[in-house]
Amino acid sequence: MEIERHEYDVVVIGAGGAGLRAAIEARQQGKRTAIVCKSLFGKAHTVMAEGGAAAAMGNVNSDDNWMVHFRDTMRGGKFLNNWRMAELHAKEAPDRVWELEAWGALFDRTKDGKISQRNFGGHEYPRLAHVGDRTGLELIRTLQQRVVALQQEDFETHGDHEAYIKVFAECTVTRLLKDGDRISGGFGYWRESGNFVVFDAPAVVLATGGIGKSYVVTSNSWEYTGDGHALALLAGAKLINMEFIQFHPTGMVWPPSVRGILVTESVRGDGGVLRNSNGERFMFNYIPEVFKDKYATTEEEGDRWYTDQANNRRPPELLPRDEVARAINSEVKAGRGSPQGGVFLDVSSRLPAEEIKRRLPSMHHQFKELADVDITAEPMQVGPTCHYIMGGVEVDADTGAAAVPGLFAAGEVSGGMHGSNRLGGNSLSDLLVFGRRAGAGAAAYIDGLPARPKVSQELVEEAHAEALAPLGRSGENPYEVHHELQRTMNELVGIIRKAEEVSEALEAVEKLKERVQLVGAAGSRIYNPGWHLAIDLRNMVLVSECVARAALLREESRGGHTRDDFPGMNPAWRRKLLVCSTEDGSSVTVEEKTQPTMADHLIKLFDRDELAKYLTDEEMTEFDGIAKS
C-alpha cells in the first residue's frame, strides 16, 4: 500500500471563511500550511451568507462600540454564550473587516466613503458590513484572493507558488491521526481519483462548518455533514451545545429542488405577511407573554407600523426567528398549511409590483428563476429550515484550541460563541475573528512543541481500511440510509422536541448506526458520489446522536432548543453546558459541565433587571457584590 504523503506545519480542514482566515494567519506567521476542502477552492458554503458581517465600527451610528455588540450577542444567545469568545468577537470584528478591505474587498459605502452598515435582527445599531445581499461571496472571494496573493509572494521568494500554502481541493479528511495524546496529522482521500492521502502535521485546524445535511429541510449544502464535529469527537475532543440548532422560519418549501433555501428576513421587514390556508394572519395568535407589550395585537396597528414606527407596535411577523419558526410549525401540524407543506408568505397584496422589484430584487429573481413564482403576483410558500448549529467543538476562546493538543477549531464547527442562538451577521464576523485566532493558536502551539509528533503507520492502515470498506461491500444503498436519517432528525429532533420523540429518534439512530456499517457503494474509486456519501454517513450519524442525546437531557427551552414538555427557560440550566464525547465512536456520552462565570468587567455592562431574567438567585447575589465593589 503506497499512499501519497504530505508534510505540513498546519493542516486546515475546510476552505470557508474560518478555514481560509486560519490558513492565511498560519502562513503569515511563517508556517507551511495546507488547506484541505471537499469542494473546489472558493465554493464553500460561506458564499450563501447574504446579510453581512457584524462589526461595531460605528460608521452609521457612532454610538456603537464593542460593549453594545457584546451585550447584543449575549442577549441573542440567551446568556449561554462563552463570554470570553463573545468579548473577543465584539472587540476584534472591526479590525477583521477592515483587513478584508485592505485585501481588496469592496463593501457598500456610506456617504462619507466608509463601509456602510445595515440593521439586522437583535443588533441595537446598524452594524452589518455588507455588499448588497452577497456578503458571503465577497468574503470568501477576498480571502481566496488573499491566499493567491500570498502564493504570489512565495513564488517571488521561493520560485514555487505552493511553497508555503497549498490548497488540496476536492479532498476529504476521514480521520485525524495522533501520536499519543497529540495530533500528528490526518488521513483522507481525493474525491477525484479516490486515491488516499496522508497529511503529516503537528497541528490541525477544523473549519468544516455545520451539520445541516442530517436534516431533510436545510439551507445548508451537501458539504455540511458534520465532518469536523465527528473528526474532533473521534480524536478525543469534546462537543458542547449540540442541542442548539437554529431553524430559520422562512425557507422555500417548493419546488423540491430548492426546499430549504432561505427567504430573507427583509421580506417580512418590508411588509410581507404570513397566512395559513384559511387566509388568516396567524402570527397574532402566537405572541408570547414576554413580548405582549412590544407587538401589535391587531392587523390595523401592525400595518400602520410600516409607515409610522414611533407610534405603533411592530407586527408579530417580526418576532424573533425561533418564535416565528415555531408558529409556522404549529400551523402546518394543525393542518392549516399550504399545499406544499408550508405557509403563505405574501408580499404581492401588500406592495405594488414595482416596489417589490425595487426592494427585494434577489428574492424576486430567486423565486422567478427557481420556482417560476412571481412574488409580485402570488404568495410564496415558506417553512422552517435547518440553518445553523450553535454547538460544536469546545475550544479555548483565545487560541481556538480543543482538548486534544494540536487540534484547533473555528467557525460553525466550534461551539460556545453564540450560546443558544446566533444573531444574524455574527456568523461572518465569527469566522474572521476566530479563524485568525485558531491560525495563530496553531502557529504558537507548533513553536512550543518540543518534538514533532509522528504519524503512526498503524493508524493510517486502520483509516485506510475504514475508508475502503464500503467499496468492498455489496450492501444497502447509502442514499436510502441518508434519507432515513434526515427524516428521523427532521421529524423527531426538529424545531419542537418532546422526550418521547427524541428517545424514539435515538433508537432509530442506533439502528441506523448498524445499517451504516453495512452500506455498500458500487463503482470505482474515481469520483464516486455513492462511496463518498457512505463515508460521510459515519459522521452524520455520530453528530445526530450528539444532537439527540443533548436535546433529551436539556429540560428547558432556550434559543435553538425548544422542548414541548419544558416550555420555559430555566436559570439553573443556563449554568450548565452539555458536553459530548465518545470513547471509540460507537456511542456518545453526554455530561453536564458548569458554565464558567462571566468576568466582572463584562457582567457590569448589563442592567440588574435584565440579568435577573436569566441568572439564578445565587448568581444575582454574587452580581450585587460585584456591582457594589
Binding site: 469542494s39 473546489l40 450563501m48 483587513e99 485592505a102 507558488h161 429542488s257 427557481l370 469520483y527
Partner: protein, 250 residues
Amino acid sequence: MSYKAKFKVWRGEGGEGKLEDFTVEVNEGEVVLDIIHRLQATQAPDLAVRWNCKAGKCGSCSMEINGKPRLGCMTRMSTFTEDETITVTPMRTFPVIKDLVTDVSFNYEKAREIPSFTPPEGVRPGEYRMKQVDVERSQEFRKCIECFMCNNICHVIRDHEENKPAFAGPRFLMRIAELDMHPYDVADRQESAQEEHGLGYCNITKCCTEVCPEHIKITDNALIPMKERVADRKYDPIVWLGNKIFKRAK
C-alpha cells in the same frame, strides 16, 4: 404531474466516453441537477457531478445542457417539452475527469497569474475611503461566482486549445478590469492585459455575457472598457502625448 423524460448523459473517464441513454422520472418544479441526482440515487450511483449550494450561488454545477453551458441547478425542467431528449455533457473546454466533472485547474492557474490587489503604501486598514459610485463598477464584477462558464464558452480557447497559455479568458480579464477600476489599486495592469493575458484575442463576440448566470455584462462593462484603456496606453498617440506633457507640467 410527473412524467418520464429521456436523457442522454455523457459518461466516461479521462476523455473517453459516450452518451448514455436514461429514462427517468421528472416531477413538477425540478431542475436538471435534481434529475442527475435521481439518476445517481436510482440508476447510476457512481455518476459523477459536481455541485454544492443548489441555489445558483456557488457556481459548481456548470455543465452543458442541449449544447449550451448552464448551471444544472438553475435550469428548470419546465423549459423543456416532455418528449424532448435532453443531452447533458461536461464543459467542453476543460479536460474531463469523470462523467460531468471536469478539471478546471486552468482557471486557478490563470487566477494566480493576475497580480493581486495592490494598495498604495501607507494606507492602513480602516483608513480606506471610497465613494459608492467609485466602487460600483468593480462590485459588478465581484458578483462573479466563478462557474467558469464564460471561459468554457469562449471560442478563443474552446475551439483552440493552443491558445490556452496566452489567454486568461473572460473571467480573468474581467478580474484585471475589476482591479484596474479599483479606486485604490496602484498596479499597472493595462499593458500586461494585452501583452501577457491575451486581451487582444477577445473578438467581443459576447458569448461570455450570454452565458453568465449572474448576468454580469462582461463584454460591455469589463472587456471593452479594458480594451479602450489598453488603446489609451498602446494605440493612441494623442493620449500618449497628452500624458507626456501633463506629467512634465506636474
